[in-house]
Amino acid sequence: MALISLMIAIPLIGAIITFLTRTRQQARAIALISSGISLIISLFLLSRFSSSISAPQFLESTQWIASLGVNLKFGVDGIGLPLVLLSNIVIPLTVVFAWGETKQANQFYGLILLEQVGVLGVFTSLDFFVFYIFWEIVLIPMYFLISLWGGPRKDYSAIKFFIYTHVASLVMLLAIFTLYFMAPPVDPFTGQRTFDMFYLLNSYQIIASPILKDAIFLALLFGFIVKMPAVPFHTWLPDAHVEAPTAGSVILAALLLKMGGYGLFRIILPILPFSGSPGKLITLMAIIAILSILWGTFLALAQRDLKKMVAYSSISHMGYVMLGAAALIPLSVSGAMFQMFSHGLITCVLFMSCGVIQHSAGTRIIGNLGGIAKHMPKLAFLMMAGFLASLGLPAMSGFVAEFLVLVNSYITLPTFVILALFGIVFTAGYHLWAMQRAVFGTYNEKLGHIHDGAGYEIAAMAILVLLIIFFGLNPSPVLNMMTTNANQLVALAAGLKGVIT
């Protein structure tokens, strides 16, 4: 049973049908149904998944381009499945949240479904060629979501987003081709090569030149940290978020950023121990991580636009992913993976809150808001929950992830953890400061009469909040499968003891 390809194909078919529909009612119904079917399939995968095996499960492989050795090879393991699940939770909820979209609705929902196709493909494909194709597919619908439904500076932002991430993918593509040609042919007689991901990653270690190894490593890393994004390659993100429509922002922050993080675990960590100078590279990753955490925090503090603030908070949170990955301790790595999952849920709530406020009050500038809790009590409640989760309140999923990362990274990277701890107070600072000025206090009468979020918007956010609390109280189902893979990744690095300083 080719369940994974089915899971990817259904939103694709749904997208095509959605483009052809004539009314927005049809479009959103089809979008919801097809993304929902995908969700059901992934839940089925979850129920059949064995979390004690680190190898990919539900493997399927079909030959595609024989002469190049390209196969449509899919499978999920503890790294991929949580993100597949996340994608399939976020997309239907985004459709629900955007239930009221009126502008070219069929295209809007169709593009959302295409995003789902792209991210699911990235998280499941085990062939570098196919991986890269899906990686690029993701860009195109997002470009259109920003440039067609975006705000006043949408053209600038869309282009910036596209160029930034595209340049990064091209650098990554170069590295993939280098790996492809440096790896020994699978069949020494015919010289047949393969794009199989595991095969290429395994053959990384037999490359002779340490400089070439490091170059490949850095090229791949560059591809991923631009996507994450990490300081100093992050400036596309706030611009893209500010201009993107809410649904676009949600997908961008919840899923597209996770592709970068996914690359860290799928591709970077398996080759890190065999690179030319692992110690220096780990330090580099840790420095980038800590810069992102602190930089994102302080810049969030400086923002006047609520959505831009949330965008910077994403940068800060993704820094934890990098930090946990660089520490190379089983629980720090699985904590970092959990951070991706958890941030995916939390950031949705934050961006949805911004969207509702923008829609209702007509502005997102924190200083122009004030006291909106009076007229938007439901939104204020859910937004508060989202903000608290984002600042790492225990009993919500963000805390589990950050706690695991901090506690375990201290073993190998103590200095960096201490620096990260400094950031926590300021993280709380910008969240609460924004809440105080935007949501609480006296009502700003200049806003006129504003209304609470629509039922479907509130419902989507409430489901997410419940999930955040659920995974905060009971992280084990997801965390266990991550830990299995994290153990395996760290076992690869067993020879590195003492290299890290």
């Binding site: 503090l301 201290y410 073993i411 926590i424 107070v425 600072g429 609480f440």
Partner: protein, 656 residues
């Protein structure tokens, strides 16, 4: 049999929270009866468990959670007395709030949040591991944030809520850092086989931590305990993180009574008491605890004298009394060992009763008069007899006044509970001085005792005696409010008599977990003057206040003016709000750090590098390079022909 339901102690108020939140609007009194019933349930279970385990049993339950951590319940003497106090005081305050909040439209939210708070506070108390402790501790902080900002439409309340959360967050981060350090040390000694974790035990359980103390490097232990104490400083409003607690008075008075007097702020003291074996193993940390506690006790009392907001006086009083509890843990911990926990927690509980009572009385007054400013009160005694009398009981208890008949040879003292609990602390501080030659903590404590008595009776006389200073029409509060006052007043009077039994019960606490905490020999009883000095201070303060604020024997207008630098310093609260909010918060963090980051992002990364260096140079290169393409087809055709000609020539040369 009650012990099987220990988890319900926490779960009942959680259920109460959910039900009240969603159903409260449809029920009478905002659904207040749901949390009251739930907390009553918690109290009954706690009481049942107490009867079951007294005098020498401990309940431990533990469930696997995630990544080698656990959820668990530990009910030992320390926990059970706290459980009883928290659930009982919370119950009374909930009942009181039915009357106090009767006219507030947002009652369901209020009762839901206080119910959640009670659940979290109970979870703090019965945690068996430090992670769960921290989680509950943070949720307690969250509820404090939500309830301080309960009237969120008031800008001052919103700001105070934020300040409370952020300042305690500083402490929480230190606490978290302590947990990180502890976890790392524990996992290292486990990895090196210096210490084995018994089957069924978890790495962050208190039991495992205590067992591992001998194996942990003492310097690391000092860091860990200092970081833990950092958390306690934040939560318990100790210097220098004390500033949030007076501001927190923006919340409803019931919230101040519940959270900022009786329960949450004592969580810091409870943390130090809970991890006391670690502190004992790190005497340097204990000394820090003693100094910070003693200094805070005095420091906060100085500001309590000048405040005019009835609740702020009480808030500073709370800070000061929490300082006493810390002082007890520090000095007595060094001087007399294990008994220090008993001394400190005894004061904690007696303080919970009389300070909750003080706040509720203040609430009753505010409810009646409609202002917080004691300068606008006065002469309320005849109008609010129950409130006035219960409040004077609480004030006597706070200033530790009683008749020490024992010293006259009669076997029973007639005294308030504060007399018993506070005396023991000051005596502990004296004993510490006696043993180490360091009397500084003792001097802090004894001066603070004088100031305490002055400010609390100033408060009482300003409020209840003399003639009314405003036109407000006051009346006694309804029964639902006065009955909790009377119950608490009875406790404030009588709780002290459990002193000996209480000390003995708590002294066993760590021994029941097979953890060794040294018990030092108590010195011979100090001279009579030392024993009586705290009482003398209390009575002196009472007399001073009586003279100034009742008989008006002194003209205070010279002293109380902005011309007087000392008064100005005190009324400005040592410039702490300006320092923390304006300078650190706004100017340095937001103004300098954040804006310079913004500058780098916008002007350097985006402006200079992306726009100028990369974009512009590419555009310029394109401008030059495009000239090659003339766009005239004939030029291309000539070049094609030229190319073909060259090829032909090359082929001919090659062929030849």
């Amino acid at each position: 049999m009650f012990s099987d339901y220990a988890a319900l102690i926490v779960l009942l108020p959680v259920i109460g929270f959910v039900l009240t939140l969603f159903l409260g609007k449809k029920l009478p009194s905002g659904g207040a009866y749901i949390p009251i019933a739930a907390i009553l349930g918690s109290f009954i279970i706690s009481l049942g468990i107490f009867l079951e385990i007294y005098p020498d049993k401990v309940i431990q339950q533990s469930w696997n959670w995630f990544a080698g951590m656990n959820l668990g319940i530990l009910i030992d003497p320390l926990a059970i007395v706290m459980l009883l106090m928290v659930s009982f005081v919370s119950l009374l305050i909930h009942i009181y709030a039915v009357g106090y909040m009767a006219h507030d439209p947002a009652k369901p939210r209020y009762f839901a949040e206080t119910s959640l708070f009670t659940a979290a506070m109970l979870a703090v108390v019965l945690s068996d591991n430090v992670l769960q402790f921290f989680i509950a501790w943070e949720i307690v902080g969250l509820c404090s944030y939500l309830l301080i900002g309960f009237w969120y439409h008031k800008p001052a309340a919103a700001a105070a809520a934020k300040k409370a959360f952020l300042v305690t967050r500083v402490g929480d981060v230190l606490f978290l850092a302590g947990i990180v350090l502890l976890y790392v040390n524990m996992s290292q000694i486990i990895a090196s086989h210096a210490f084995t974790l018994p089957q069924g035990n978890f790495i962050l359980q208190f039991k495992s931590m205590f067992d591992a103390i001998p194996q942990i490097d003492p310097r690391q232990l000092t860091y860990i305990t200092l970081l833990f104490f950092g958390g306690a400083v934040g939560k318990s409003g100790q210097f220098p993180l004390h500033g949030w607690l007076p501001d927190a008075m923006e919340g409803p008075t019931t919230v101040s009574a519940l959270i900022h007097a009786a329960t949450m702020v004592t969580a810091g003291v409870y943390l130090v008491a809970r991890t006391f074996p670690m502190f004992v193993a790190a005497p340097d940390s204990l000394l820090v605890v003693a100094y910070i506690g003693g200094f805070t006790a005095l420091f906060a009392a100085t500001m309590g004298i000048v405040m005019n907001d009835i609740k702020r006086v009480l808030a500073y009083s709370t800070v000061s009394q929490l300082g006493y509890m810390m002082l007890a843990l520090g000095t007595a911990g060094i001087a007399i060992g294990a008994k220090a926990v008993g001394i400190s927690v005894f004061h904690l509980i007696s303080h919970a009763f009389f300070k909750a009572l003080l706040f509720l009385c203040a609430g009753s007054v505010i409810h009646a008069v409609g202002t917080n400013d004691i300068r606008e009160m006065g002469g309320l005694f005849s109008k609010m007899k129950i409130t006035a009398i219960t409040m004077i009981i609480a004030s006597l208890s706070l200033s530790g006044i009683g008749v020490p008949l024992i010293d006259l040879g009669i076997p029973v003292n007639i005294a308030t509970s504060g007399f018993f609990s506070k005396d023991a602390i000051i005596e502990g501080a004296f004993e510490f001085g006696d043993k180490t030659g360091n009397f500084i903590p003792y001097i802090f404590a004894i001066l603070a005792a004088l100031l305490t008595s002055i400010y609390i009776f100033r408060l009482w006389f300003m409020t209840f005696s003399g003639t009314p200073r405003s036109e407000k029409h006051a009346h006694e509060s309804p029964n639902v409010m006065t009955i909790p006052l009377i119950v608490l007043a009875a406790l404030a009077l009588l709780f002290g008599y459990s002193q000996t039994g209480f000390y003995n019960y708590l002294e066993k606490n760590f021994r029941l977990m097979n953890v060794f905490v040294p018990v030092h020999q108590e010195a011979s009883p100090p001279s009579l003057i030392i024993t009586l000095l705290p009482l003398i201070m209390g009575i002196a303060g009472l007399l001073i206040s009586y003279a100034i604020y009742h008989r008006r024997m002194l003209d205070m207008s010279k002293l109380v003016s902005s011309q007087n630098p000392l008064y100005k310093l005190l009324i400005k609260r040592y410039y702490e709000p300006g320092l923390s909010a304006d300078i650190i918060g706004v100017k340095i963090t937001h103004g300098v750090a954040a804006q310079s980051g913004e500058f780098v992002d916008r002007k350097i990364i985006d402006g200079l590098i992306i726009d100028n260096v990369i974009s512009n140079s590419l555009i310029k290169f394109g401008d030059v390079a495009k000239k090659i393409q003339t766009g005239v087809v004939q030029n291309y055709a000539s070049i094609v022909l030229l190319g073909i000609g060259l090829l032909v020539i090359l082929l001919m040369l090659g062929g030849a």
